[in-house]
């Protein structure tokens, strides 16, 4: 049975959504409860839009009658960025609140902790955001699915473009934690495969959130690379860009950069946004596919703000869960897991599938170049890179994923 979001939301006027009051819910039988754990207080820049996207989707689903004849209710919990707290919250949600399934996770280690808890307690966990490859591969398990394109996928998207450049000598700057390290690792490995003639002349791993930007820029400059691969984001990125601009690090050098095209990270740079960087991101204002336009308009109508990438992830995770529930026809977690394998649903970016082989969604990202227009950073010359194309084959996955 293939169900997509449109079947739930068809005919649902946005304004009608506000009618979904708790008393109404009870009248229709107990709601389906989702326990959503995320680092709301420690990563608000991403997770506030995330929660808004989520609530938008939930409102739409419920306005269209819910799933299985029941409304969906979400219990949001803040892990404050600590994996050990996320495990406590998972226990509380399952045992005390009797939620039907778990979702969320921003940091990779939080995602891994919940995933392991899910395995131990045989509960479905839909990891929305954590990028670590381990979540679906090395530490993958039957109960865990992941929505966002992983570190590997985003690195692969950038390598595709980077390999076309004449640059031979590359430098890397990445935050010193798992995401930064594995992004650097995959980029090196994949680029070497595509271009055996490249070499890596410098690697900088500043502590996350603590970049010593001037010294880092100087150290990279000293290695005289042809091109730079950047993995830093948020405040680190801003500091790196400003020092790099002043010191001329980016002049005459190509830069490939993870996530920099996401509004969360591009917008704060304002007029100082870098120009001509090859980035993965989300050019929200320019994507005119029907699915996205509908999402964007609904989001704008509800929040009077434009969506960030977090909004998309929250919105899609909620919709993926709803689609999975509808397909399974039950909240029984074993059946739900089986239903999620190979589940097809429509995201704001178009049709997506949870691969049966490794539980990774084929949600993609937009790859393009940065530019500055009207004093703001934007993405130009972008294209949608479908996640399915950047994932290893099922046969390769077998070797990567011991859990099968």
């Amino acid at each position: 049975m293939k169900i997509d979001r449109r079947q739930f939301v068809s005919g649902a006027a946005i304004g009608a959504a506000a009618l979904a009051t708790p008393s109404l819910l009870r009248a229709q039988g107990a709601p389906i409860k989702i326990g959503e754990i995320n680092s709301y207080t420690s990563q608000p820049a991403f997770l506030k839009p995330y929660r808004q996207g989520w609530e938008l989707a939930q409102e739409q689903v419920n306005a269209a009658g819910g799933v299985l004849g029941r409304k969906i209710e979400t219990l949001f919990r803040d892990d404050a960025g600590k994996p050990e707290d996320s495990v406590r919250l998972a226990g509380e949600l399952i045992n005390a609140e009797k939620v039907d399934l778990l979702s969320g996770g921003f940091l990779s280690n939080v995602g891994l902790a919940i995933a392991d808890y899910a395995l131990q307690n045989k509960r479905l966990y839909v990891a929305s955001e954590p990028l670590s490859d381990a979540i679906v591969w090395a530490k993958g398990n039957r109960y865990t699915f992941r929505l966002r394109p992983s570190t590997y996928m985003q690195a692969a998207m950038l390598v595709e473009e980077a390999a076309k450049l004449p640059a031979k000598k590359w430098a890397i700057v990445a935050p010193n934690y798992e995401y930064g390290q594995s992004a650097a690792k995959w980029f090196k490995e994949l680029l070497k495969k595509a271009r055996p003639d490249v070499e890596f002349v410098a690697e900088q791993f500043p502590a996350l959130g603590r970049i010593d930007a001037g010294a880092t820029v100087q150290a990279i400059e000293a290695a005289k690379p042809d091109a730079i691969f950047n993995v830093t984001f948020a405040a680190d990125l801003a500091n790196f860009v400003r020092q790099g601009n002043t010191r001329g690090l980016f002049e005459g050098r190509a830069v490939a950069s993870m996530l920099t095209g996401e509004p969360e990270y591009l917008d704060p740079l304002g007029a100082e946004a870098p120009v001509g960087w090859i980035v993965t991101g989300y050019p929200q204002a320019d994507i005119q596919t029907p699915d996205h336009v509908k999402f964007r308009e609904a989001y704008r109508a509800k929040y009077n703000d434009y969506p960030r990438l977090g909004s998309v992830v929250g919105y899609d995770t909620m919709n993926a869960i709803a689609a999975g529930l509808a397909k399974a026809g039950t909240t029984d977690n074993e059946k739900l897991v089986d239903a999620l394998k190979g589940l097809k649903f429509t995201s704001a970016f178009g049709p997506v599938e949870f691969r049966a082989s490794d539980h990774q969604a084929t949600l993609g990202a937009y790859v393009g170049k940065t530019a500055v227009k009207n004093g703001k950073g934007v993405m130009v010359d972008w294209r949608y890179a479908d996640g399915a194309k950047y994932l290893p084959s099922d046969a390769e996955v077998k070797a990567l994923r011991p859990a099968g």
Binding site: R88, D116, Y117, N176, G214, A215, A238, T246, R247
Partner: protein, 629 residues
């Protein structure tokens, strides 16, 4: 090569300036008021945010608008500092040592949510400074003029401060108070005004440090915590209360940072703490610090007598234990998870209390031993394939051995220097767990550390945890009342007298350190099996701070305080986080309120009140701590 060395030296000097301003304020505040001001990073962050707003309002492209905004931001922060001192800190100067730290930590939490509410979640990249937007060519490479400006600001501020402290009456008073607190009281100086002005001045310096970062760094919600640890390092490396020392230390840290990333790009996380550990081992009072005059203790009250529990208190403890024992039959299932966690934290807090209370050694890095216990358990399961029980036995030894090694260095110091060295060691342990990916899995941790099948039910694991925690908490309590515990307290009360009656104070403190580390390791190993996984966050600074808060909140001079503190603090945090997304603000405000209402901690103040009532009744004065449980 030479040009790179030159450039990196300049980079180091540039980043030293803001660090110097912040650390210098912190140092002066500590010197005069003896407050370990955790909120100093918050002043720095607020300074940056305020500068962003003011500069945007006045127009950042105009020199007047920009610099006016920066200076005004610093002044506003000074006013905020004064208000904080007058409304909160002034009420608790008489509290035990380090207690004020609780209040400042409450402020940190409140400011985090306030900043989020006012300025939103997005990072703010401020304008470049008028007149310093470009670069100059230095030995062939471009160097931003603003960085040059910052390099000059450092020594200028140092000179101004030097003048202020050497040539003005206020400065002389500040120096005198830093050297010898009792003397200032004796001089008949208006102490209140001095304290308020010093706090405001220090806060203003932090605000200025933050505001000056505006053209250099995106203003964000994590600035407070990323600055505070480094500022403490600078203060301690430089020597408490020494402005010149703070400048030297800031330059040292800045330059070492700039070169460190050339040589060991991955070690930046821990480099500053390594430097601090080495400096403290060689110069126990920092580069320019002096051995404090007079007693090491601050202005807190005399520690009360430690008497065994009265029958009533014993009854209360037994009742509490009985309640915990029958809890599974009364409360809903999921409460067992909370109670399990609280029991573990109670043991963790009790272990720190042995050091802090009877030992008089405050630790800012106690999570190291908790984390090593957890890692011990996880490594035993993962690499040695040990079952749960042998792993639980093995794990605390890893923590104990670390306590043995780290403790040897730490007991040679005292007061805040000791506390900072424990922090340095904790950061080194944390960095090891974080960086040694092959062994520890790095920040992705070690998964699958679940209890043995027989103990996997919530009920069994709860009883197992409760049994182990109760036994070791009681054991710690027994130690406190045993000759060893007395000898430990003797060393705390008067090292001079203790040595004069044959007590090897350092060795006694060392053993207490090891025991505390071992007990924390037990708590950590239980925590690992309870959570099913271990992560470097187990030994990160926030976990150490949690332990500190639990002990202080309960009352550092009472044996049962840490247990009450653990239940109160962690329980409060858990419930608030469930109730509101603004739990940090509410928790912070609750802490500040509790600190004002219970200036000796929850148990300490209750006991003091009970004692006063008894004294009013004419009975012999005696403090009667409640039993451990």
């Amino acid at each position: 090569m030479i040009d790179l060395i030159f450039a990196q030296t300049l980079n180091g000097l540039a980043s030293a300036s803001s660090l110097f301003l912040v650390a210098c304020g912190l140092s002066i505040i500590f010197g005069v008021t003896r407050i370990v001001n955790f909120a100093h990073g918050s002043f720095y962050m607020l300074g940056a945010y305020l500068a962003f707003t003011l500069v945007s309002y006045f127009g950042g492209s105009e020199a007047l608008g920009f610099w006016g905004g920066v200076v005004l931001a610093a002044l506003i922060i000074a006013v905020i500092g004064a208000l904080v001192e007058i409304t909160i800190l002034r009420r608790i100067y008489q509290a035990p040592e380090l207690f004020q730290l609780l209040a400042t930590f409450g402020l940190v939490l409140m400011v985090q949510d306030i900043a989020l509410a006012i300025w939103g979640a997005e990072d703010k990249l401020g304008p470049r400074a008028p007149g310093f937007k470009s670069f100059v060519l230095l030995m062939g490479s471009r160097f931003p003029t603003y960085e040059l400006f910052l390099i000059v600001v450092g020594p200028i501020m140092l000179a101004l401060l030097w003048f202020l402290f050497q040539k003005t009456r206020w400065g002389t008073l500040v120096r005198a108070a830093t050297q010898d607190r009792e003397m200032v009281g004796a001089l008949g100086v208006n102490q209140r005004l001095l304290f308020t002005s010093v706090f405001a001045f220090g806060a203003g310096l932090a605000g200025l440090g933050g505001a000056l970062q505006l053209p250099r760094e995106a203003v964000n919600l994590h600035m407070d915590l990323s600055m505070i640890a480094e500022a403490f390092v600078v203060v301690v490396v430089g020597g408490l209360g020494s402005v010149t020392g703070a400048y030297l230390a800031a330059v040292l840290i800045g330059v070492i940072h700039a070169f460190g990333i050339l040589i060991f790009p991955k070690i930046t996380l821990v480099l500053v703490f390594l430097v601090m550990a080495v400096v403290l081992m060689v110069k126990p009072y920092g580069l320019m610090g002096k051995r404090p005059v007079g007693s090491a203790h601050a202005h807190g009250p005399v520690e009360p007598l430690l008497l065994p529990a009265s029958p009533a208190a014993k009854g209360l403890g037994l009742l509490a234990l009985a309640l915990l024992l029958v809890a599974p039959f009364i409360v809903a299932d999921h409460w067992l998870l909370t109670l399990t966690e609280l029991s573990i934290f109670a043991l963790f807090a009790a272990s720190l209390h042995l050091m802090m209370g009877p030992g008089g050694m405050a630790s800012f890095g106690h999570a190291a031993y908790f984390g090593l216990g957890a890692y011990g358990a996880a490594l035993a399961v993962k690499w040695l394939a040990l079952p749960m029980l042998p792993a639980l036995v093995f794990a605390p030894f890893l923590a104990g051995i670390a306590g043995f090694v780290f403790g040897w260095f730490c007991v040679r110091l005292s007061g805040v220097y000791l506390a900072m060295l424990t922090l340095a060691f904790a950061q080194i342990a944390w960095a090891t767990a974080f960086q040694w990916v092959d062994l520890t899995g790095g920040d992705n941790g070690i998964l699958g550390v679940w209890p043995a099948a027989w103990a996997s039910s919530k009920l069994v694991f709860y009883y197992l945890t409760l049994a182990i925690c109760v036994v070791f908490v009681l054991l710690l309590r027994v130690f406190v009342f045993a000759p060893f515990g007395y000898a430990l307290r003797a060393g705390r009360d008067s090292p001079l007298r203790a040595e004069a009656i044959g007590l090897p104070v350092m060795r006694i403190q060392w053993l207490a350190f090891i025991i505390a580390a071992f007990a924390a390791g037990i708590a950590g190993s239980l925590f690992a099996f309870f959570k099913g996984s271990v992560f470097p966050t187990y030994m990160a600074i926030p976990r150490s701070v949690d332990a500190l808060l639990m002990v202080l909140l309960g009352g550092v001079q009472t044996v049962s305080g840490p247990i009450v503190g653990a239940f109160a603090f962690m329980g409060l945090q858990e419930q608030l986080a469930k109730a509101t997304m603004y739990w940090r603000f509410v928790l912070g405000a609750s802490i500040v309120l509790l600190v004002i209402l219970f200036p000796r901690g929850l148990v300490g103040t209750t006991l003091a009140l009970a004692e006063r009532r008894r004294e009013d009744g004419g009975a012999a004065p005696a403090a009667t701590p409640e039993p451990a449980r």
